[in-house]
């Protein structure tokens, strides 16, 4: 079993004119493989910042607290090392890279976590690739295209999940994997994530909407507001939020937090 712990995490970003702004104001979270956690919360509350900071995006500066993977701090590790240790981030806006085919990229990513003298064979790679393409209802042609280049929003999301299935990380952070997906695509993406469920896989799912959680049922739901986790519960918490909205929960908890979309 692997464990990911976030302890009293404070994160700030640099804005224009050298101003800094604190986004995360003391996040605590512990998750183990075998568990699916969901983080919900209103816009601008720091959900994506949390996932990017765990992955190691250099735009986010940790000012206090720690992130531990299996008891070891990963704060000083570069992104690629964190990935090789078992972290994966399905991004909201995946980069497009011309000239590098999807298949070639996938092989490089798989081989990056294997020793030089034990690289994956072409046969094994293709077998695994075909299996996962079928699962995600993707055509083989997608793998010969350049990485994300000219992909539609939905294709990019599927491609993120394809990478997840091929790389098989211990922990996957899924950042708004449902945004811009129609129901069919949502089901396919969920099927992909669910196929990973098991003792050796944990996931942190970031979403605005409860809908995704009908397909990927979480073990734990956290609600984030203003840079902190303000409430945790089981899958029913998400349903309650769907009915009452974030404002309802805020008022129930007596929090002094302004929601971005409060004035509508």
């Amino acid at each position: 079993m692997a464990t990911l712990e976030v302890k009293d995490l404070h994160v700030e970003i640099k804005e224009e004119k050298e101003q800094t702004r604190e986004i995360l104001k003391g996040v605590n979270l512990t998750m183990n493989t075998g568990e699916i956690h969901a983080i919900m919360g209103p816009n601008g509350t720091g959900k994506s910042t949390l996932s990017q900071t765990i992955m190691g995006n250099s735009a986010y500066h940790v000012t206090q607290g720690d992130i531990l993977l299996n008891g070891e701090s990963i704060l000083d590790m570069p992104v690629d090392e964190r990935a090789r240790k078992g972290l994966f981030l399905a991004m909201q806006y995946p980069a497009e890279i011309q000239g590098v085919t999807n298949a070639e990229f996938l092989r490089a990513a798989i081989n990056a976590r294997r020793p030089e003298d034990d690289q994956i064979s072409v046969m094994d790679f293709l077998k695994e690739l075909d299996k996962n393409l079928a699962l995600l209802d993707m055509s083989e042609e997608m793998t010969e295209r350049y990485l994300n280049e000219g992909f539609s929003g939905g294709e990019k999301k599927r491609n993120e999940i394809l990478q997840l299935l091929m790389i098989k990380p211990s922990f996957a952070l899924l950042d708004e994997i449902d945004s811009g997906l129609d129901i069919d695509a949502l089901q396919v993406v969920s099927k992909g994530v669910n196929s990973m469920r098991g003792d050796n896989f944990g996931s942190l799912i970031i979403t605005h909407y409860q809908r995704l959680l009908n397909y990927i049922v979480p073990d734990v739901v956290h609600v984030m507001m203003d840079g902190r986790i303000v409430k945790s519960g089981d899958a029913d918490l998400a349903k309650k939020l769907e009915n009452e909205g974030y404002a309802g929960l805020r008022d129930e908890l007596g929090l002094d937090v302004s929601l971005v979309d409060d004035n509508r």
Partner: protein, 434 residues
């Protein structure tokens, strides 16, 4: 350098003797001598924002013909099914031209055989129609000391699907400048692609003067690509010139991945109405090498289209200058000339520049340019690294993406892969020193 009159007379005598012993036709020997005369007064060309005048390019003022060791070409990929010409130094190793193409009148042969056997084609077009020998000191040197090369003739309306390849391997196991010429005549309505490979064997310091002249007749459609991989002891001048007639289409996809200083000159003259040329160049520089590349398009005919796209990557302490020159001549109404010059700096000790130069002497035209000197895209790098790929490999993949628009132009998948491999090797070497 030629300093005294006696020296120069002695050189002429020596060249004349060597050329005659080599069995060259009288007209060509005369041209060599005229070029030596011209060298006296001609200057080296000036290149905007770049100085190459102290490079050892014309130390060798002898004309020698010697046999090279054919085994220097042993490591080439298998020829099966490929149309190709292979030359090591001055020695032609192989000419693989299918019979059915020869029967249609296609000629693929070494340049000196062409002078002897096809004087009607070569005397008129060698360094006359496309490039004048007396343009500058380098062009005169080219004609005076020419010692290797290839001739390709594709008759009217002949369409060749398989690319024609020329491997021109510099023999630097001996002291001897490579003065090589590729002369291509594409007759009306012909269609083909040509791939040039430049390599060096041996470690003797030599210059390489490689010229390509292409005559693209009306309605012809020709694609030229090259993989330049000259060695670290080779200072090179690469002239590549095309002349386009009415409605001709001619494209360059040039990859300059030499290990030593290189002066690149790529020029497309769009003479005939409606001619169209895409001129794409990539270059990668490492160590302390310096590359200066002029990519020039000249719109002479009405409704001509000439686009330039150049992309370069600099590592370590290298220098790379891209000049994109768009020259629209008075009268070329309806001309279209766009250019894009971009360089990627992988080291803060490198020096790179991308200069668009537009010379427009006509009102009714569309012309534009974009230039940038930048760093690797951090988002792309982050994305690749977030999948566990280490920084160096991630950088190389992003660079390949940056160079993609030219790589994609190379018509043979094997050659495209060869180019990718050459670039990757060079990038890896450069990264190790960073």
């Amino acid at each position: 350098m030629i300093s005294a009159v006696q020296d120069y007379e002695a050189i002429k005598t020596a060249v004349e003797t060597a050329a005659n012993e080599h069995g060259e036709p009288h007209w060509f020997v005369e041209r060599r001598l005229a070029a030596i005369d011209a060298m006296q007064d001609l200057q080296l060309p000036e290149m905007q924002r770049y100085d190459f005048h102290r490079w050892p390019l014309m130390d060798n003022l002898e004309l020698n013909f010697r046999r090279s060791d054919k085994s220097l070409a042993d490591d080439l990929p298998d020829a099966d099914g490929r149309i190709r010409f292979v030359q090591v130094g001055q020695t032609t190793v192989a000419v693989n031209l299918p019979d059915e193409l020869a029967d249609q009148g296609v000629i693929l042969t070494d340049i000196f055989s062409a002078f002897r056997e096809h004087p009607r084609l070569t005397e008129k077009y060698f360094m006359d129609k496309v490039t004048k020998y007396n343009e500058n000191k380098l062009t005169a040197y080219q004609q005076a000391f020419l010692n290797s090369g290839v001739f390709l003739y594709v008759p009217k309306n002949v369409v060749i699907k398989q690319p024609i390849e020329a491997y021109l391997i510099q023999d630097s196991t001996v002291k001897q400048a490579m003065v090589s010429h590729v002369l291509i005549i594409a007759e009306e309505g012909s269609q083909f692609s040509f791939i040039q490979h430049l390599n060096t064997k041996g470690v003797v310091e030599n210059a390489a003067h490689c010229m390509v002249e292409v005559l693209s007749r009306a309605n012809s459609h020709v694609h030229f690509s090259s993989v330049d991989e000259l060695g670290e002891h080779t200072y090179s001048v690469l002239h590549r010139r095309a002349n386009l007639s009415r409605n001709a289409r001619f494209d360059w996809a040039v990859g300059i991945v030499n290990a030593q200083n290189t002066l690149g000159d790529i020029t497309s003259e769009l003479v005939g109405e409606g001619a169209h040329s895409e001129s794409k160049v990539i270059a990668v520089t490492t160590g302390k090498q310096s590359n200066g590349i002029n990519n020039r398009v000249v719109n002479r005919g009405k409704h001509t289209t000439a686009n330039i796209s150049q992309r370069g990557v600099l590592l370590e302490k290298s220098e790379l200058i891209f000049n994109g020159i768009g020259d629209i001549i008075h009268g070329a109404s309806g001309a279209n000339a766009e250019q894009e010059n971009r360089v990627l700096m992988m080291s803060d000790q490198a020096h790179g520049d991308a200069n668009p130069i537009l010379l427009i002497d006509e009102n009714d035209v569309i012309a534009g340019h974009a230039a940038s000197v930048g760093q690797v895209d951090q988002n792309q790098l982050y994305y690749l690294m977030s999948r566990g790929i280490d920084k160096e490999l991630a950088q190389r993949l992003v660079i390949r993406g940056f160079l993609g628009p030219v790589l994609e132009e190379i018509p043979l998948p094997e050659v495209r892969q060869e180019m990718i491999d050459v670039i990757e090797r060079k990038l890896e070497d450069g990264q190790h020193f960073n």
